[in-house]
Symmetry: C2
Subunit: 153 residues, 2 copies
């Protein structure tokens, strides 16, 4: 990654994603949207965030095509914010954050919310990084191919 | 999620993860560490971030047990920063961010860096959210079980 390029022109996809959603409020808004939250006032209550910051982040997420607005109910003046297909495809990001938190940020026995498979009622199994044959892939078994060593890290 | 609780006491694992690593620089430092970057000056060059901010984020990541310091080389006065096992387990988080970026933040045909499986030389396959039987799980087939509806979102 070069210091000369704006983040949204970086050839590294991680950098572009982080530029768009790599802040606390955006990630938590997306989490709440996955949980079915739709209204400004509900996001605000959930997050305890200042209204102007919430407005800014919601607008950014709409502009990025991650959320879209619709009428909260028929004839309602309120807007609802719902995930677009692009937003829904952030599911692995939010799940990975959840599962890492579950594994590392709670004391033994400390209770936490759980993401359940509705059909089975069981927790969603851990995400696994697999190779094309379905074998677990460790970080040290991978490498980044950069476009240009000077431009990308 | 309640507005009365500090983020690091939230019963939502996503909130705790985001509290610790949900900022641009921390996520990009972790990305660079996965790419084998170890030295302060290399992180600085890669990220183009102010030294004081980089110092702060590295310290926070060390305090969180995500990075650990070691001598950069035998007899060297320089410190190197390397991922701990806890840090390595962020692999799915970074990969999910990468793959979402690849899928949504590049124009058709626009080049980007790639994460390759070293053994095959092929890109690491997309992360998939699977149920216990190995079937793809969509977000709407899951639900969050909160500890207490008033405390967790």
């Amino acid at each position: 990654m070069s210091t000369r390029q704006p983040m949204n022109e970086q050839p590294c996809p991680v950098a572009r994603s982080v530029d768009l959603i790599g802040d606390r409020w955006s990630l938590l808004i997306v989490r709440d949207a996955f949980d079915g939250m739709r209204r400004f006032s509900d996001f605000q209550r959930s997050l305890g965030v200042a209204r102007n910051i919430l407005s800014d982040r919601l607008k950014k997420l709409v502009d990025a095509g991650i959320l879209q607005t619709e009428a909260a109910a028929e004839g309602s003046a309120y807007q609802a914010y719902v995930l677009t297909p692009r937003g829904e495809s952030l599911f692995p990001v939010v799940l990975a954050l959840r599962q890492w938190g579950e594994g590392h940020l709670f004391k033994p026995g400390e209770a936490h919310s759980l993401l359940l498979d509705q059909a089975s009622g069981q927790p969603v199994p851990p995400l696994r990084v697999l190779d094309a044959q379905g074998q677990e892939l460790r970080p040290d078994q991978t490498r980044v191919r950069k476009l240009d060593a000077a431009d990308d890290a």
